[in-house]
């Protein structure tokens, strides 16, 4: 690109001003990277939700238990292929920071409904035959360095044990599992519901929620309505959602993250638009004689427009690259919050897109001015 030195030198004509502008764009994109990264990580759980599954919770609240006696009724609903359940265990390992999504399940039912879970047959067998066995997700296993045969104590923030009134539950690692298509789903563990149900001090015979697979995904809303109808006016009314809706409403407990992130970013970029736009305009105003000279030398109006526009694109893309680069470096620090180690590439891509739009929006008015510039007037300083 032979015009690069010309464009680059124009960009640095006022060093300090360019540095300040660059910094504000860098910071905006750092913010963009971090916030969108968190958002995307949360949203990913929603997007990966299976359309072929429904989640049945209590109508009262997500955390309200449902009686296990609902199982047979659920299985009888037309369009339901299989029924499994899970219960919120609220576990952490050693330190409350080490939250782990461990859930008591009936493993064979669960595998039928969530076939993405992959484990070696002998490890599954071991779970079936070990009352206090636990199957650990690959990410969690790596995080805590657990091996088969390890005894791991998990502290439940919800459930106490009938035997000693304590909240510490002891498990024996019997194997690991992977989750097809989404490794972040393996930051958890599964253990035997029978063991849990017998040992817990209260609410025996209840489950946290039902997971229902459908024989036909297109029937999802009809089946959901049928289920809720079935338990209408019973002691345990239900709320049935697709897995995606469920994931979304689960997130909403923490506030509408997506909306908050978008609102903040909108405000930031709106401000940036004027700041950068103003800087670019000012810089072109100062360079009127120089731009006129370029035209004198035979640079066409379009060429001058392009030069100014490319300058703006260069500034914005450079700043965005730095900002997103820093975000990429800092993002792993949020691992404990979002459970993901890397900034999703989609965020980087979106950042590049935003930078380009910003560049064109801020670059076009001054570029247009440069294009319209009259040589004779400009040379005469009019």
């Amino acid at each position: 690109m032979k015009f690069f030195p010309l464009i680059w030198s124009a960009l640095w004509r006022k060093k300090l001003r360019t540095i300040f502008t660059l910094l504000s764009i860098v910071i905006a994109f750092l913010l963009f990277g971090m916030l969108q990264g968190v958002n995307a990580a949360f949203q990913r759980g929603v997007d990966n939700a299976n359309v072929n599954r429904l989640v049945v919770t209590s109508r009262i609240s997500l955390t309200e238990a449902l009686p296990i006696s609902q199982m047979q009724l659920l299985e009888s609903v037309k369009g339901v292929a299989a029924v499994a359940h899970a219960t919120w265990f609220g576990a952490y390992y050693q330190d409350p920071k080490n939250f782990i999504f461990a859930a008591p399940v009936e493993i064979d039912r669960y595998l039928k409904v969530v076939p993405e879970i992959k484990s070696a047959p002998e490890q599954l067998d071991a779970l079936r035959h070990t009352r206090d066995g636990i199957l650990v997700g690959l990410v969690a296993a790596k995080k805590y360095g657990w091996k088969i045969g390890d005894r791991v104590p998990l502290h439940s923030t919800i459930w106490t044990r009938k035997s000693d009134g304590q909240s510490d539950w002891d498990f024996q690692v019997v194997g690991f599992y992977d989750f097809t298509g989404n490794a972040s789903q393996t930051d958890g563990a599964l253990f035997n519901f029978d063991y849990f149900d017998e040992a817990r001090a209260f609410r025996r015979g209840s489950v946290g929620w039902w997971v229902v697979s459908l024989s036909d995904p297109n029937q999802s809303s009809q089946v959901a309505a049928a289920i809720d109808k079935l338990f209408e006016n019973s002691a345990d009314e239900t709320k049935t959602q697709s897995e995606k809706e469920f994931a979304q409403s689960f997130l909403k407990q923490f506030g509408d993250i997506n909306f908050i992130v978008k609102a903040i970013l909108f405000a930031v970029f709106f401000t940036l638009l004027f700041l950068t736009g103003n800087t670019m305009m000012q810089s072109v105003r100062e360079r009127v004689p120089e731009l006129a000279v370029l035209k004198t030398l035979g640079y066409s109006d379009t060429a001058v427009l392009t030069l100014v526009l490319v300058e703006s694109v260069l500034l914005c893309l450079l700043a965005a690259a730095i900002g997103l680069g820093i975000a990429e470096l800092l993002f792993p620090l949020l691992k404990s919050v979002v459970g993901e180690v890397r900034l999703p590439p989609s965020v980087l891509l979106a950042g590049g897109g935003v930078a380009l739009v910003l560049a064109i929006l801020t670059g076009l008015p001054p570029a247009w001015r440069a294009k319209r510039l009259d040589i004779v007037d400009a040379l005469a300083g009019r």
Partner: protein, 229 residues
């Protein structure tokens, strides 16, 4: 007289300032032969720069024909005019008008960026142009690190580098002391005589005009006399 490089017929130039129309050139006729070095003189506000801008294709006549380097440039589109300028004219201004952020050689290279020359060829042509103006050793200097005379030489090198047939200079020595001015004028003379460049130069300075092969006087938007030097 060889073929004309510049030929103006009944050229009228009017400026529109709001509701007022100002006629700056009134039906001007002018011929400049290929290889001439013409000095345009006249009082301030007489229309010298306006005339020069028409000849150099920076501005368009309101009426009349402007034929320069064999082309009816009054009929060219603005894009066509830009291309034409790049090919046929080199400009030198009173205040050099160099890009302050670029080195001398980068400044001189600017017109070549519009050509299809590759990097090596551009470098070679830039070096040759800087050598002609005697500034080979200042190639890496920024305009702020050059004296006025040196800056004007760089500007002349920039005007030369694409090898135009015509050089158009508006008071090229207006900002220089006598000695430096003489050096610049001598350089222009060399370019005219040895490199075959036709030159049209506006100047207020009768001594400067003496370097030209012909002087023309403009007064109140009309040529008053044309005499051979």
């Amino acid at each position: 007289m060889s073929e004309a490089i510049v030929s103006l017929r009944n050229v009228v130039k009017r400026y529109q300032r709001g509701k007022q129309t100002v006629e700056v050139l009134h039906g001007l006729n002018l011929e400049i032969a290929n290889g001439e070095f013409v000095a345009l003189m006249g009082p301030s506000g007489s229309g010298k720069t306006t005339l020069l801008n028409l000849i150099g294709g920076l501005d368009r006549a309101t009426e009349g024909e402007v034929i320069v380097a064999g082309e009816r440039i009054d009929q060219l589109s603005s894009g066509g005019l830009a291309k034409w300028r790049a090919r046929h004219v080199g400009f030198v201004f009173q205040f050099y008008n160099l890009m302050p952020m670029l080195t001398a050689e980068r400044n001189v290279e600017l017109p070549l960026l519009l050509t299809s020359l590759n990097g090596a060829q551009r470098k070679q042509n830039v070096a040759a142009a800087l050598a002609v103006v005697g500034l080979a050793d200042r190639a890496r200097h920024k305009p702020s690190e050059l004296s006025g005379g040196q800056a004007q030489r760089v500007a002349i090198a920039r005007a030369l580098v694409a090898d135009p047939t015509l050089l158009v200079c508006d008071e090229p020595t207006g900002d220089l002391d006598r000695k430096t001015a003489d050096e610049i004028l001598h350089l222009l003379q060399v370019l005219n005589r040895e490199h075959g460049k036709s030159i049209v130069m506006v100047t207020h300075d009768p001594k400067a005009a003496d370097y030209a092969s012909r002087q023309m006087h403009v007064d109140k938007g009309a040529l008053v006399q044309a005499e051979a030097a």
